[in-house]
Symmetry: C2
Subunit: 334 residues, 2 copies
């Protein structure tokens, strides 16, 4: 505080309530171990003094920080928002707090953040990327805490993973285009060096290229951090210029697909008659009420919840890979 006042301590509360500080600790952490009368006294003292338990001290002495670290690639695109909510809610129920940071899809940033996170001695770490620097890898190994990689199923995972197969998903949405009669199918990807998930989805497309007229891949380069709809519009332009007879565009993300879709409209193309477009992620704007975008639905909330469950259960088996799958959702653009 500005004027030299200090935080109230447990000792102050104990004195006020006329009990030992250990009793205050118990009253706040395990109320069942304290008699109702004492509990009332302590509660009163806590309220009067506006005391808030100091977790930094608690963490030190109990060697349990009650914190779980989470490193997500981005918050700007709300891909991971539902997952974060699932994690927060799940962990909160178990008395754990989520500490969040963003890596901007950069392994160096991730490495430095892992180190920062470990400084808070978290009880587990959650990552939404699967490409780590060797240094980061070493830190994770040595930390000896559960590490969960989400939204993908790397083989092998650093420790354990909850997600789905991006390659399968990329193949599935491409197959959907083929099954609905398209043969000249293009893929609109992203030059984001370390986004291995996106690369796997592209690989899924490539896997099916044998059934296509031709391999048609265009990748746009995002400005640091954000891959917005403008890139989708731009990418569609490139595709149509290079292959004017394209019948379908599989986009690596909903954001790109939205941009491409709007651009197609602007050009007066008939979607889906003339050109089909698909996205990935099933974000809000893809809903039938908005763009009605054909896309791959990922249950981000479930991923977050399951991750929280696994962390709370303790004893996370090394090498575990839990596949929560995905769903191809056909809407108005295919």
């Amino acid at each position: 505080m500005a004027d030299g006042r200090k935080w109230v301590t447990m000792g102050d509360v104990a004195a006020r309530a006329g009990v030992g500080k250990i009793t205050v600790s118990r009253a706040l952490r395990t109320p069942s171990k304290v008699s109702p009368a004492t509990l009332r006294k302590v509660q009163a003292a806590v309220d009067e003094l506006g005391y808030v338990l100091d977790e930094t001290a608690g963490a030190l002495s109990s060697q349990r920080s009650r914190v779980v670290g989470a490193l997500v690639s981005t918050l700007e695109e709300p891909v991971f928002a539902a997952t974060i909510r699932g994690l927060t809610e799940g962990l909160g129920a178990g008395g754990l707090q989520l500490m969040l940071a963003t890596t901007q899809y950069d392994p160096e940033t991730e490495a430095s953040l892992i180190s920062t996170m470990l400084g808070r001695r978290p009880e587990a770490l959650v990552l939404t990327s699967d490409r780590h620097t060797p240094a980061a890898h070493a830190l994770l190994e040595r930390a000896g805490i559960p590490v969960l990689e989400l939204w993908g199923l790397p083989n092998p995972p650093v420790h354990a993973a909850v997600g789905f197969f991006n390659r399968e998903a990329g193949a599935a949405i491409t197959r959907h285009m083929i099954e609905t009669g398209r043969r000249r199918v293009a893929f609109l990807g992203l030059n984001r060096e370390h986004d291995t998930r996106a690369q796997l989805r592209r690989q899924g497309y490539v896997d099916l290229c044998g059934q296509l007229a031709e391999e048609r891949i265009v990748a746009v380069t995002p400005r640091p951090g954000v891959a917005g709809p403008d890139l989708g519009a731009q990418g569609l332009g490139v595709i149509l210029q290079r292959w004017p007879d394209t019948e379908a565009v599989v986009c690596v993300s909903d954001m790109l697909a939205s941009g491409a879709l709007c651009e197609a409209w602007r050009r007066g193309l008939d979607v889906p008659g003339q050109l089909a477009i698909s996205g990935f992620g099933d974000f809000d704007m893809a809903s039938p009420a908005a763009l009605a975008l054909t896309t791959v639905h990922i249950d981000g909330l479930a991923i977050g919840r399951r991750a929280a469950e696994l962390i709370l259960a303790g004893e996370l088996p090394k090498g575990l890979r839990e596949n929560l799958g995905f769903t191809v959702v056909r809407r108005a653009t295919s």
Copy 2:
């Protein structure tokens, strides 16, 4: 760690490097106070052992947590994403880490999170809401740390605020509709009880109703947490049913506006000839490359950066309200 291993401590590093632990502390925190030779020895030991400084212990003994708490209303709508990035980057440069949590627009949740946050003894607190429970208010007052409210300019703020006048913004976008010749202007709002910002924007609309044919307000009710485009579509339906001759719809958020816009297209309405639509926030999808939505642009990044600056400067003057303004952006929907 699973097999009983413990975290490496500063003592281990000191022993390894053949120095006292205080020297290790200095080598890591203030390298300039240690001789180059010693520094190298310590660095080597740190690397060999994979040591990461324990901030929980550091926080306790130095009484400085190097953490700033941030409570945002939502992550699902990426409104605050840029602000968070600005905060993270700005604070990071000053050696502070952001601890993030979401309130879901609920003051009770906020109150409980404030308490949780204070448990980590943050050096400052950032809030994106300005409606707090009395208990939360008392906690904030007593905490004696800087408290910054963002995205609004409450009068008086709990401590200080960085943002803009939502009421002015609501009035400005309504005025834009009037200036472009519309008189039968409706407002599409949100029944989100504690979202005072949204209510102020609506108030801005009401302020100008004298110049309008009629006050036309419809509010839709979000499912917990998320106000998606489906609500916008639904809301437009209600408006057009009640007042079929409506010429413009001012929406309280981009998300609603997007839904309304898509619904208008589906109904075959000419936008903006027959019906103008505006949003609020200028999110990605509002860009010219995507929906080209007329909206109010808020520089969330600047808000975050400025907040970080103020926190790092220390000595945050009580009652400060910094107005970073907004911009009405006319695009293709008005």
